[in-house]
């Protein structure tokens, strides 16, 4: 069955073409060269011609090398044996542990039937006020962190990962610097989270195409745990590298590019991954947090643009803080009504005042006169930035709400901020 084919007739980019028969679409094959063996996947069939995308890249492949088809699509082991393990983008262990082959599942499985989903209703607490108070993260949400190079997005991701109350963390790294990989590994270890984590790591030094598998591997494993009732958090960084790898392959395959060289199916490709986020009716859930670095801080670039249409909001990380404007959790309304009765009041009031503060700042910068109200706003804005927005702040939701009252109390009188009287009576005088 495992016949070897030796007639490689074309090598272009990271795609090789070999003549073979009876091959299934998306099937895996091993390319055996004198430099080693690499996995590859069928991406097009045309008569006898089989187009293979070689994960390790085509460098060093000779036309006389051998190709062995495996007769199945990409699979990954699943289950508790994976916990605490680290793999590369092809699913091969990086941690000197044994190869795993239990409970193999195909990656990129079928979509969930919408009628088997439930309306998300459980909040995930992170200890970060800008998330918990203003844009609550909800179980089964898919949320990207929009950011630019140089921002501490990986630190933020690692912190949410280690502090979030979930059963299992799966980290998928795409095109990460080796330092970042070590940072993630050490952070997970320090916080004792490694024992319930699984890492799929593709570093910048690895072949580009190999990162294409990372989201699928991560999500296939996550799905398996979720079906067993586990609450899984999947962290993906950086999805822009994934998109760029898609671009490389589609251009090699001579597909007509749609927008800035990206393939026309970028939306569908991203959706197929992000839509794996789910809260199963009578089983567990998958929550996805993914970093998307925006080239040139441009939110209309095809990657963040397509992502924004798919995900349920976004966290916008800029100048080292989560920007309240531009950040959005579409699902927050599902949960922030049942945390504490002042949650929505604090959220709305503080954001409104902060928006006014920004306007005042602009006025100040343009040299207009500052009124007494403007001065109050300036004081408020400063406190808000230091005590709420700073990523150094690490407090529970309840503490953050109390802190919110405290800041309002320090800057304003109750009638100035338009909060309902019943709320004022309950919380205003309360000394924290």
């Amino acid at each position: 069955m495992q016949k070897l084919y030796t007639n490689i007739i074309q090598i272009a980019g990271d795609v090789i073409t070999v003549e073979a028969e009876n091959i299934g679409n998306t099937e895996l094959a091993q390319v055996i060269t004198k430099h080693g063996t690499s996995l590859s996947q069928v991406i097009r069939l045309d008569g006898k011609k089989v187009f293979l995308q070689v994960f390790a890249g085509s460098r060093g492949i000779s036309t006389g090398d051998k190709v062995r088809f495996l007769g199945h699509p990409m699979r990954i082991a699943t289950g508790n044996m994976l916990l605490g393990r680290i793999f590369n983008g092809s699913g091969i262990p990086l941690d000197n542990g044994p190869d795993l082959s239990e409970n193999l599942v195909d990656i990129g499985g079928p979509p969930v039937n919408p009628v088997k989903r439930i309306i998300p209703n459980k909040m995930i607490r992170t200890g970060i006020p800008m998330i918990d108070v203003f844009n609550s993260l909800v179980e089964s949400q898919k949320l990207p962190i929009f950011s630019i190079a140089g921002e501490p997005y990986n630190e933020l991701l690692a912190r949410i990962g280690t502090q979030a109350e979930v059963d299992i963390i799966i980290l998928g790294g795409m095109g990460l610097k080796y330092d970042d990989y070590l940072f993630f590994r050490d952070t997970l270890e320090e916080h004792g989270a490694l024992s319930h984590s699984i890492v799929f790591m593709h570093t910048a030094a690895d072949p580009v195409v190999e990162c294409l598998l990372v989201p699928d591997l991560s999500l296939a494993v996550a799905e398996n745990f979720a079906l067993e009732g586990k609450r899984v958090l999947v962290l993906l960084t950086d999805m822009s590298n994934f998109c760029d790898a898609l671009k490389v392959i589609s251009i090699t395959m001579e597909q007509i590019p749609s927008n800035r060289g990206y393939p026309g199916d970028l939306y569908s490709q991203l959706a197929a991954r992000y839509e794996k986020a789910v809260d199963f009716d009578t089983a567990g859930s998958i929550t996805i947090l993914a970093v998307t670095t925006m080239p040139g801080d441009d939110v209309t670039h095809p990657i963040p643009d397509n992502t924004g249409y798919i995900t349920e909001g976004q966290f916008y990380l800029k100048n080292g803080v989560i920007e309240p404007f531009g950040s959005l959790s579409r699902l927050k309304q599902q949960v922030n009504g049942k945390t504490r009765d002042d949650h929505r009041t604090i959220m709305d009031t503080m954001i409104q005042l902060f928006a006014e503060y920004r306007e005042t700042q602009e006025k100040q910068a343009m040299g207009f006169q500052m009124s007494a109200w403007d001065m109050k706003l300036l004081k408020y804005g400063k406190l808000f930035e230091d005590k709420m927005m700073s990523l150094a702040v690490n407090i529970s939701l309840e503490k953050a709400l109390d802190l919110g009252w405290e800041i309002l109390h320090d800057c304003f009188s109750p009638e100035e901020i338009g909060i309902k009287k019943s709320m004022i009576d309950k919380y205003w005088s309360k000394k924290v």
């Binding site: 969930v112 039937n113 670039h301 643009d305």
Partner: protein, 578 residues
């Protein structure tokens, strides 16, 4: 029966498969790929020589060169009959709850179910008698589906005149039992069932004439109904960047719109959104009928991770179902979210066909496809004199929020109203985020034309003043300009914006809109006396607060009248005498 015509796969590229054949094939014919035990539905989209290119409505992994393909000789069709209301279908009209029962959590490739139940029985009442003359689309009887008389009609595909040969008496039937026999002029007999099939890409045209859509479709959104109205049988589009609230707007419309039936086509969008609709609609009462919202809703769900080719079929399936109910003299609203995903599916397929790309790689026929889809909307007069309508509202998701892109532009050419959502409005939390300065409608509003113009006028003026103030500051603006600016802001806050979380404010009936608009018109026309800008600002802030309370008071309640009086007294104080 002749043996089915067959072909063999010669090429596989993504969801496009090329097949060699040696018997005739038909464009847009449905074919099944036989892969082991699976049968995968596909459609021929191009024929070249002895090769047919097909789009596959399923994922293609594992398919092999040389595998057999069976041609069906039929176009992609849906089954139309009682039992569709309250149902949730995928883009190929498979009932999703049934798939869940059989396959569990996931959608299984190649699993297809009948759209309508074979075994459910319906109480049939005949409307014709033997000897009556009928033609396609004529009602020969009805069953009761939820709250509607679901008419059983002479198949739309029959041409010419027919005579009723026999008709069953009142009684219970399944959709597989013939309820009547009719014969054509040559004496050929045709059975009539409670259901019939119809190819989705061909409009149903069994009506006397298409009429001009001039009756307003009340959505109970003030901004839409008063300033940018939609007509029954008309078309409108809602383009907007992500996060501007397209979907929320569509959800509110699906709840409150004054129509008989709503068909929701979730095309390539988030599964979470459709989950919300399908889990909440069976729990919400429709105030007009006092029945559950789900009783008047059909959901077609092809979410973004479901097969791409079925996105195209999902919008056609939805519009065909809408047209079918229109044939019964009902008013149907089709909400498609989002037509951009459908256009992207066309682009993907066009790329695989290696067609020469148009703008942003969309195919050259994008415009004509979009146009012919929206053209399926319309108000019609049926043969029996009754009227029905299909209104189409399509959400558009322009790349980068830029309305210059091809899908938005192609859509704008063919729709009757444009509700453009803007990022700045949604960032300022002004909902609905329809930008009144860029939106337009060709339909007639129930608001008095002069008053409506005044509304548009003050918004434009207010915007101009606001722009100017950014440069010269408040101190450099004249008091009268500043008051105009405040009036525009006031109009925006108390009338255009609506609070979706307030039970009363979220839906405003027509009579109330006319009444309140007239009230506001008089405020806009009034000249007030202010000492300075601060007092003006203070006045309008207080007025706004009073209106907020008025907006949450139920129509014609005691509270409503009390609030109205308060506002009158308050505003009189500042009014210029004489």
């Amino acid at each position: 029966m002749t043996a089915p015509r067959k072909g063999r796969i010669t090429k596989i590229s993504g969801n496009m498969v090329t097949v060699s054949f040696d018997s005739p094939v038909m464009q847009n014919e449905v074919a099944y790929i036989l892969h082991q035990a699976e049968r995968l539905k596909s459609e021929i989209i191009r024929v070249r020589g002895k090769l047919a290119e097909m789009q596959v409505y399923e994922e293609t992994s594992g398919l092999k060169i040389g595998e057999e393909v069976e041609f069906t000789g039929e176009l992609l069709s849906v089954e139309l009959g009682p039992g569709m209301l309250g149902q949730i279908f995928d883009g190929l009209q498979n009932p999703l709850p049934e798939i869940a029962r059989q396959c569990g959590f996931f959608l299984k490739r190649g699993v297809y179910f009948k759209a309508l139940s074979d075994t459910q029985v319906w109480d049939f009442t005949p409307l014709v008698k033997p000897g009556d003359r009928v033609r396609a689309g004529d009602k020969i009887g009805f069953v009761v589906e939820k709250i509607f008389r679901h008419y059983c009609m002479v198949p739309f595909s029959l041409q010419g005149n027919f005579e009723v040969v026999s008709i069953e008496n009142a009684g219970t039937f399944t959709i597989r039992e013939a309820v009547a026999q009719i014969k054509d002029l040559d004496g050929k007999i045709y059975p009539v069932y409670l259901s019939q099939n119809w190819p989705v890409k061909i409009p149903i045209q069994a009506y006397a004439e298409k009429v001009k859509p001039d009756e307003p479709l009340v959505t109970k959104m003030r901004l839409i109904d008063s300033l940018f109205p939609v007509a029954r049988g008309g078309t409108y589009c809602i383009p907007g960047p992500f996060g501007a609230g397209k979907t929320v707007l569509q959800q509110l419309t699906s709840r409150h719109a004054d129509v008989d039936i709503v068909v929701i086509a979730a095309c390539g969008e988030r599964a979470g959104e459709i989950v919300e609709t399908l889990k909440t609609f069976p729990t919400i009462l429709d105030p007009r009928t006092n029945r559950l919202l789900s009783d008047r809703t059909v959901i077609i769900s092809n979410t973004s991770s479901m097969p791409v080719a079925a996105r195209e079929s999902s919008v056609y399936t939805a519009v065909t179902i809408a047209e079918y109910y229109r044939q019964m003299g009902l008013h149907v609203l089709l909400l498609a979210d989002s037509t951009s995903r459908w256009a992207q599916a066309m682009r993907e397929m066009s790329g695989r066909l290696e067609e020469i790309p148009g703008e942003e790689a969309f195919p050259a026929y994008l415009e004509s496809r979009i146009a012919s889809f929206y053209e399926r909307a319309g108000a019609v007069r049926l043969y029996d004199g009754s009227t029905g309508s299909v209104t189409i509202g399509g959400a558009v998701s322009p790349a980068g929020g830029n309305f210059e892109e091809p899908v938005t532009q192609a859509t704008l050419k063919v729709v009757g109203a444009f509700h453009g959502l803007s990022r700045s409005r949604s960032d300022a939390r002004r909902y609905p985020a329809i930008d009144p300065l860029i939106s337009w409608s060709k339909y007639k509003s129930f608001i008095d034309e002069k008053q409506k113009e005044r509304g548009h006028g003050i918004l434009r003026k207010g915007f101009d003043v606001a722009q100017m103030m950014k440069v010269v500051g408040e101190e450099g603006t004249s008091l009268s300009d500043y008051v105009d600016y405040l009036k525009a802001e006031f109009f925006d806050f108390v009338y255009l914006q609506q609070n979706a979380f307030d039970a009363v404010d979220e839906a405003t009936p027509k009579e109330r809109q006319i009444y309140v608009f007239d009230f506001i018109y008089r405020i806009l026309e009034s000249e007030f006396i202010f000492e300075n800008k601060d007092t003006a600002l203070h006045f309008f802030q207080q007025l706004r607060q009073l209106f907020k309370g008025w907006n949450s008071a139920p129509w014609q309640s005691e509270e409503f009248e009390k609030n109205e009086k308060e506002i009158r007294v308050f505003s009189l104080e500042r009014l210029k005498k004489g």
